[in-house]
């Protein structure tokens, strides 16, 4: 009996010892974290080199439905530019083939009086994005230039944002994409490849903006908005997609956005999308 008692004390002492060590380690590691928290208070500077004239761009897109012919070049150009998953018949059956940009048909009426329209559909990069409000880890956020970004390493795959987006243009990777060799040789090196468990969406080809800014700086000139051309804008054979700075009243997108033909999707939800469509006629 005595032996047991002594063991109890020994056990308690050991537990106390290890407990203290663990606590100490924990505090030690947290201390560094707490220290770096202070640094976070400083306002993260925007891309300082870029907004020299004090003017911050707000990137938006105008799609002229009267010019669009529904050919799908924008869809394929986006897929090629962004290393999109390939898909197969079975995944298509399940609706799990991801295309950041796709053609949305809207067909109403009865034969033969039919009202129909084909709309290229992509992330609207809302100014009040519903997906950003609900992300628990800030993996999606709106950057100072208005682009709604998706940061892949932070995403935990909870799919709250996928559910919250009223346009349903956020896509979740339900499985690892299969890229049989040698397809990875043809990947765009500027864009990350997404794997299972990550949400992805159109980024307005943000990587092209990074590269264009750098190129302008390196060539010693001012960055012009027309240097930044997303893949779909470049691809369209009908030149139906315009892209530019909505904050600049002289830019083409600004002027078109105020045209009498302009409309935005689901405006009543208050998301303030930055993709403006021009109706036919």
């Amino acid at each position: 009996m005595e032996t047991k008692g002594k063991f109890d004390i020994l056990r308690r002492k050991l537990i106390a010892l290890f407990g203290t060590l663990t606590a100490a380690l924990g505090v030690f590691s947290l201390r560094r974290k707490l220290a770096s928290q202070e640094n976070k208070e400083t306002e993260p500077a925007p891309e300082n080199h870029e907004s020299q004239n004090g003017h911050k761009p707000r990137w938006g897109m105008v799609i002229d439905l009267d010019k669009c012919t529904g050919c799908g070049a924008c869809v394929v150009a986006c897929s090629v530019e962004n290393n999109m998953m390939l898909g197969d018949a079975q995944l298509a059956e399940q609706g799990r083939v991801i295309r950041w940009m796709y053609l949305l048909p809207m067909i109403e009426g009865e034969y033969p009086n039919i009202r129909s329209r084909i709309m290229p559909m992509l992330c609207q990069h809302c100014d009040r994005p519903p997906c950003v409000f609900v992300c628990p880890v800030s993996a999606t956020y709106k950057n100072p230039e208005g682009l709604v970004a998706q940061i892949y390493p932070r995403c935990i795959g909870c799919r709250y944002c996928v559910n919250n987006c009223p346009y349903t243009i956020k896509y979740f990777n339900w499985g690892d994409p299969e890229f049989p060799q040698p397809i990875p040789k043809g990947f765009n090196p500027d864009v990350a490849v997404r794997y299972k468990g990550i949400v992805e969406k159109c980024t307005f080809c943000h990587h092209r903006l990074q590269i264009a800014r750098e190129k302008a700086k390196a060539e010693g000139r001012e960055f012009r908005p027309e240097d930044y051309v997303p893949a779909c804008v470049e691809a369209c054979p009908a030149k139906a997609i315009y892209f530019g700075d909505l904050n600049d009243p002289e830019s083409e997108v600004s002027k078109l956005a105020h045209s009498r033909r302009a409309f935005r999707l689901l405006e009543e939800l208050g998301t303030q999308p930055k993709v403006i469509y021009l109706t036919e006629g």
Binding site: P44, A45, E47, H49, Y141, P153, V193, E214, A218
Partner: protein, 190 residues
């Protein structure tokens, strides 16, 4: 005496398991460079980083020297170092093994960033005017070729420490914050 033995046994057990956990991954991290390149010698001879890593000022990656460049320079400089047997050996090796056979030198890239990070040398070198050794600390003093260290030390100099690839975003962020450059996630993550 018993105390000491007991303590030693405890430590033995502890170390045994710890070393297992550390040495096995360390073995996988072992990196063999194909040639015994000595940075220090070349820097002392007056070479600048940009001479052999030529894309650093206008591309995203700095580039690595190929056999032709090494041989061209070695041949030109050979008269200055008539007693350097090693240099002659290396030049011959390069000519025979690489240039004649049309092979590229299979350098193992140690300093790199992950796939989902956008890092551009041009931006840092030309636009940011960051010195090479600010991030690649101590490379100019290395006599051995660049390899991965056996043990990933949690060292906390903020940049890419001597011989390590970027493992922590913190290293980049600290410098960015100090120099008041963008810390926007979207600027580096793509």
């Amino acid at each position: 005496m018993a105390k000491i033995v007991a303590a030693m046994e405890f430590i033995a057990g502890f170390l045994f398991v710890t070393l297992l956990a550390v040495v096995i991954p360390a073995n996988e991290r072992k990196v063999e460079q194909p040639l015994p390149f000595n940075h220090k010698k070349h820097v002392e001879a007056g070479w600048k980083c940009i001479n052999c890593h030529p894309f650093a000022d206008h591309q995203k990656f700095a580039g690595l020297p190929q056999a032709q460049e090494c041989v061209d320079c070695h041949k030109a400089e050979m008269p200055k170092y008539p007693n350097n047997k090693k240099m002659r050996e290396i030049t011959e090796l390069l000519e025979k093994e690489y240039i004649a056979k049309g092979r590229e030198i299979p350098w193992v890239v140690v300093h790199s960033v992950k796939d989902f990070v956008y890092f551009s040398h041009q931006r840092h070198v030309t636009l940011g005017k960051v010195e090479c050794v600010e991030c690649h600390v101590g490379v100019d003093k290395m006599t051995e070729p660049v390899t991965k260290p056996l043990f990933p030390l949690p060292t906390y100099p903020k940049m890419i420490a001597y011989n390590q690839s970027v493992r922590k975003m913190e290293w980049c962020l600290d410098c960015h914050r100090q120099k008041k450059v963008t810390t926007d996630c979207n600027a580096c993550h793509r």
